[in-house]
Symmetry: C2
Amino acid sequence: MVELVRETLHTSVTDPVAASMNFLNEVAGRFPDAISLAAGRPFDEFYAVEDVQRYLAAYIAHLRAEGVSEARLRQAMLQYGRTNGQLGPMIARMLEIDEDIRVPADSIMVTAGCQEAMIIALRGLCAAPEDVVLAAEPCYVGFTGAARVLGVPLVPVPETPDGLRPETVTRVAREVRASGRRPRAVYVVSNFANPSGVSLSPEVRRGLIDAAAEEDLLILEDDPYGLFGLDDRRSPTLKSLDTDQRVVYLGSFAKSVFPGARVGFLVADQTVVSAAGHRSLLADELSTVKSMVTVNTSPIAQAVIGGVLVSCGYSLRAANREKIAFYRRNLRALLAALDHHFSDPGITWNSPSGGFFAVMSVPVRADEKLLELSARDYGVLWTPMSFFYLGGGGSHAIRLSCSALATDQIDEGVRRLAALIADVGS
Amino acid sequence: MVELVRETLHTSVTDPVAASMNFLNEVAGRFPDAISLAAGRPFDEFYAVEDVQRYLAAYIAHLRAEGVSEARLRQAMLQYGRTNGQLGPMIARMLEIDEDIRVPADSIMVTAGCQEAMIIALRGLCAAPEDVVLAAEPCYVGFTGAARVLGVPLVPVPETPDGLRPETVTRVAREVRASGRRPRAVYVVSNFANPSGVSLSPEVRRGLIDAAAEEDLLILEDDPYGLFGLDDRRSPTLKSLDTDQRVVYLGSFAKSVFPGARVGFLVADQTVVSAAGHRSLLADELSTVKSMVTVNTSPIAQAVIGGVLVSCGYSLRAANREKIAFYRRNLRALLAALDHHFSDPGITWNSPSGGFFAVMSVPVRADEKLLELSARDYGVLWTPMSFFYLGGGGSHAIRLSCSALATDQIDEGVRRLAALIADVGS
C-alpha cells in the first residue's frame, strides 16, 4: 500500500493557518450550540433555492430578448466558453453605477470566486524569484493562502489601529528593494477589512495611490464589504481614484449576492507592452493563466449572477438594501453589546464604520486552548487574531464577527464572551 | 500611466503553447467557413439550455426526497460549501457502476473542472525544488499548462506509436533520480489520449502499475474519453486495477455531460502519514490546496451534475448511449475519409479504437504558416502536433479531431486536407 509522508507534501497542504482554521471548524462542529462570533460568512436567509432558477431564467430571457440565437445560447451555457467569461459588459455597467469605476468590459475577467482572482493576479505579476508582494497586516487568510500555493513571498505592511499608512508602504517597499527583491504590488482591503474592520480614510486612499506610483507598485484592491457601511456615505474605491491604471481591482459577489455562485472577477485595465512593442490589456495577458487554472468560470454560475445583475438594473447597491439594513443592525448590536457587557477599561475594541468584523484586545493569550475552553464552558466562538499575522502578532486580540447570526443572538454571544474574559482575565 | 513589461510577467503568461493555441483560435476566427478538424470540444447539440434547469430541479427534488430540510438545502446551494464538494457519494456510485472503481466517497474531491484537479494534485504532491512529474509525450496541453502555472518541472516520457511503454517510464524515472531530482508521479491518459488517440493495452496497464510501484511513483490517470470506444469492449481503468492505492484518478464531466458545468473531480484514496503518526486521506490533505485556489466548487454547478447523476441512475455509460453512437460514427467517418482521400503510401495515420482524435504524419512541416495557408486557401483547420511536445517534436504530424463536427462535414474536411497535402507535399 502506498503511504505518503505528510512532510513531503507541499507547504500549502501543511499551512499552519489552514490547520488553525480546521481547528476552529472542528471546535464549532463539536459544540454546535455555541454562538458563533467567529463565522464571517454572509447571513443566508436572504435568498431561497428557487431564486437560482429564477435568476438563470432571467439571464436566458435577457439574452433571447437581445436577439441571441438558440444555438449561440446553447453554446454560451453548455460549451467551453470565453476564457475571461461573458459578464464583462454587465460587470462594467455595475461598477460604473455602484462604484463610479469606468473601465472597458474587456479589462474584466470573470473568475471562480475572488479567490481565483487573487491566484491569477499573483501568478501573472510575480515571475522572478525576487518578486514579492506587500500585504497590509493583519491580512485576509485567503490572500496569504493564494500566495502560499504559488510560493510567492508576502511582506507584511503593519497596519496601525486606524489602518494602513502610505508612508509605511513606502518604507517597506524601499526595504524590500534594498534587500535585492522586487516589490510588485501591495494588497489592501479598502473598506471594513477582514479581519480588522478598518477602512482607509479618503486622504489615505490618495496617499496610497501616490506612494504606489512613487515606488512603482501596483495596488491589488479587494473590496468585498464596500456596500455594507453603517451609513450611506460612500468612500471612493481606490480603483475609482485610479487615473493612472495602477489598481488591479478584485471583485466578489459572495456578500452582495451569495457565495454559492462562486463567481468573482478582476479588473486589469493596465497596458502591457512586449519587447517587440506590441500593446495589450493585462486582463488579456492573464487569460492564459486563467485557462491553466480552471479553463473558464462555469457559464451556469455566470448566468445566475448575470440574472441578478439584469434583475436589479445593474445596481447591487440598490438590490442590497435589505441586506445592508440587516448588517447595519447586526454591527450596531455588536458594538452596543460590547459597550454593555465590558466595563473594564483595560479591554478595548475598535468601532468599524461598517462591514462584518470588529477586533477586541484582551488581557489573556487568545489561543486555541482559550478558544476550546470558550466553546465548551461558555458557549461562544470567536477567531484568534493571530491567524491573520504572517510572522507572529495578534496574540492578545480576537476577531468578532456579526454577519452570520440572527441579530437577537449577538447580545447573548457577547455576554458569554464577557463572562469568559472576566473569569480567565482576572 | 502604468505600462507593464510583458517579459516581466510570469512564464505561464508568455507560454509558447498558449500563444500557439491563441494563434489557432485567431485563424479559426478569421476563416469561419473553414471546416475544423482542429476543435476537440464535444459536439454541443445533445442538450438544450432548459436541461440545466431540469437537472437542477432533479437534484433539489432528490435532496428533498432524502429528507434534507429547506434550511440545509438553502445552505447547500447558496452558501460556501464543504471544500471537497457534495457529490462524493454520487460520484463514488457512478465510478463503481461505470468503471468498477471502488473508492470511499471521502476520497473524492469535486473540482472546478478537471483542470483544477490537475493543479491541485500537482501542487500537493510537488513540494521541493527537486520534485518533478513525468508525463507521457505527446502530452495534453492542459496538463503542461497546470505544471507551468506552478513551476513544477515535467519530464517527458516518449510514447511509441502504440502508446506508453512501462520500461520507458522506468528508464526515465531512473534517469531523473540519477540527476538528483525526485520523480513523484507519472501522468497518463489511459484511453484514446488527447492528442495521440492511443490507448494503453491491458498488459501495458498492468506493467505501468508495476513499474510505478518499483520506482515509487504515483500515477495520475486522466480518462475523459473512456466512454467513447468504437465498440463496447471496456479496458479497465488503471484505477480499477489499483490494489495498492497508487493511482490518483482525474475525472471530467466535460465530455460525458457538458463542459459548461465546469465540474470535474479527483480520487485520492492514498494514506498520508504525518511525522507524529497521524493517518489521513490524501483527498483531505489536498482540501487545503483546494480552499486556496477556488474555496469550493460552485454548488450550483455541482447540483446540475448531481441532477444528471440522479436522473441516469448513476451510470453515465447508460446516459451517453446517443453520444457514444455519434462519436463512433464520426471517428469511423474520419478513418474512412482518410482511407478514401489519401493514397500516397508515404502519408500515414493511426487508427484509434475510440475517442475524438487521430494523428497523421505528413511529408511537410506542419507549422503555423501551413495552418494559415490551409485555412485560407483550402478551408480546413487542424492542429500541429508540435503543440503537444515539451521539448520539440511533432514537426511533421497533425492532430485531426472529429468531435465537434456534424458527421457529414468530416469527409469534405478530409478532402480539403488531402488537396492541401497534395499541393504542398509534392
